[in-house]
């Protein structure tokens, strides 16, 4: 997939004045996230992988951003948000209960584990969670809508847009310390910013992006 910013690689700026030492260390730690679960059980992990693939589908022509690993890391290290909705249990318990409940909903509605269902059926269950329509007993007193909005979606999508892969796709300048930017006006681009491909100009954009440092 070439996308809007073909060939743009924000990590090519790693050794430029746009990435200070604290940034390089932070991104290195992020990219070295443990790929095996420390918090989730094998069954929970299987369901979580399937949920991540529907919430944030990723192109087949590159390695996936390991989204389940980031969710697991947040739970294992108990990295908190600073607030919790009174209707939700603590984050780790919410995830365990939510994944188990989604799997049970899958079995009762479609006769199979969540991860074995077709994508459209997985989406159907997630949409029902989003609208508050799932009421199986595994949810207990946790509203599925609050779990979906305030736990499932933010934990997965925030992890994705914290990665260079995601920044490349949307043409974000990425880290900028201490160099910052000079050309602030509309339609102006510093030489260290992504080049957007005009229709039919992907090859030129790819060449220009290879020089972005």
């Amino acid at each position: 997939m070439s996308g809007r910013y073909p060939g743009y690689d924000v990590e090519a700026k790693r050794d430029t004045p746009s990435w200070n030492r604290a940034t390089r260390e932070a991104i290195d730690r992020r990219l070295a996230v443990p790929r095996e679960p420390r918090f989730f059980t094998a069954d929970e992990w299987t369901t979580l992988e399937a949920v991540c693939d529907r919430v944030m589908p990723q192109p087949a022509d590159r390695p996936k951003v390991p989204l389940p690993a980031y969710v697991d890391q947040k739970m294992a290290d108990d990295i908190q948000d600073g607030y919790r909705y009174a209707v939700l249990p603590p984050q780790g318990e919410a995830w365990r209960r939510g994944l188990k409940a989604l799997d049970q909903e899958a079995r009762s509605a479609f006769g199979g584990a969540f991860d074995t269902l077709l994508g459209e059926r997985q989406d159907e269950l997630l949409r029902r969670a989003q609208t508050g329509a799932l009421t199986g007993e595994a949810w207990g007193d946790m509203p599925c809508k609050a779990f979906f909005e305030h736990r499932l979606i933010p934990d997965i999508t925030h992890a994705y847009y914290a990665t260079p892969t995601a920044w490349n796709e949307i043409g974000f300048g990425g880290p900028a310390s201490p160099r910052g930017y000079v050309r602030l006006a509309l339609n102006r681009r510093d030489p260290w910013e992504a080049v957007e491909a005009a229709p039919g100009e992907e090859t030129k954009a790819r060449r220009d992006n290879s020089r972005v440092r």
Binding site: I27, G82, Q130, P154, A162, R179, L184, E193
Partner: protein, 547 residues
Amino acid sequence: MSADPFAAPRATGGRAPDVMRPGAWLAMREYAEDDAVDFVVVGTGAGGGPLIAGLAQAGFSVIGFDAGPYFRPLEDFASDETEQNKLYWTDNRIVDGANPLTMGGKNSGKSVGGSTVHFAMVSLRFRPEWFKSRSALGYGADWPLDWRDMWGWYAKAERALSISGPTRYPWGPERPAYPYRAHEINGAGDLLARGCEAMGIGWTPTPLATVSAPHGKSPPCVYRGFCRFGCSTNAKQSQLVTFIPKAILAGAEIRDLAMVGRIEADRGGRATGVHYIREGRWRFQKAKNVVVAGYAIETPRLLLASADARHPQGLANSSGLVGKNLMVQSNQAVFGVMQDEVRWYKGPPSLTITEHWNYDDRKDFHGGYCWMAQGPLPIEWVGIQTSARGLWGQALRDEMAKYNHQVGLKMVGEMLPNEANRVTLDAETDQYGLKVARITYGWGENDKAMIAHALDQMQTSLERVGATDVFRQTDDTNHLAGTARMGFDAASSVVNSDCRSWDIPNLWVCDGSIFPTAGGVNPSLTITAIAMRTASRIKALAASGEL
């Protein structure tokens, strides 16, 4: 690279970090725990910072406590949204009510310098009438402060923070030119200006607390755009780089990683000091005066948690108002897509502003609001796309791909005080063993009417500049106020005009908690101006034997 700022306190052994020079230190005076210092100030943000500095400069012995670490921005700060979560108060709090508040990075800092380390630097004066909103405008409550007095303190605060802004401000009574010239306007700011001009309303470059020319060891802003995640160059004039170093030079001590859990009061009804935990051990610091400056959640939490047999409702709470009248500001937004490349991640996020509806009273609701240009970074942006539009899957990816063409306008609106909006203590405890805050919030009818008005106005502005795919973010709030309001008597307020509690004469509150009304602009400059005024008043009270 210096050691981990969370692992052990940095301000110890007679020195504190010199945040302007890597690896360097400032000599710092230290006080013994059983020596009763003149003032303990709990919190080092927009309220605590200027007060600690002002009291130390007046010759008082002062210790400033902060629960958070003492960062060295030049070494510790990454250009990264996730990494910089370390600036925020992420300890647990429970939120409920009809409109539960989003806390954490939206409104709560936990570090020396408080929320000013991550604030967006927007530095605005109140409209004069807001200090008398009950008697002049018919809503809320009057402040026991005079706007003409405040005008002088605002000017002092603007000089102390080297505010950059326009030569002539379009609204309100005359004010001096800002100390530093206005910043260059980015694409997002330009679109706000064009929208206002198309609608026939005023706009201006936003007065900002980041320097547009060198100041001391602060270099001019380099337009990184990570302002709300900490400034790694020290262009931002946070408390950490302004008042706190001044305070240390004047003889104040700062205790970082020091969480105050309880204020002690004696039989005579005076505060005697604070219990705090540092390096895993509970300790007690004696003090002749205690100032609480923890902002509108932690301040009432501490006062309520300090209840004893003589003060079963908590300290300074004979009125029953501690924790009540919590206010936030409505922070709704409208977003759209431009043909142009906007690349709103460059520069401070709010380089232009309109205060038109703070000064035009032809509205069918009370209070006012402003709106500002926006520049959310990717994680904040995906949070808006998912919460405001319910997007996920390929639909979300498709929208995120438009990132560099997005434009947006966001309001800061005055919500009205309501006693039902409040902070109480929950049964759950935090890592210190202290009861966590439960925060209950719901919008009133006036709040909803203002939001509807602002959304229509902002949408019109975006449409006038040719934005397409316009959508609204209808549920967001920011900033904090209330919960220990200042007023005219002990029955209807917690502190007087000097931020001194009515009940306990040596217990003070100096932060956004003392606001009787929230106003329609970002609160930090008003908090700072009042803190500078309070330091001056305490000096005068001491001179006349009234301390």
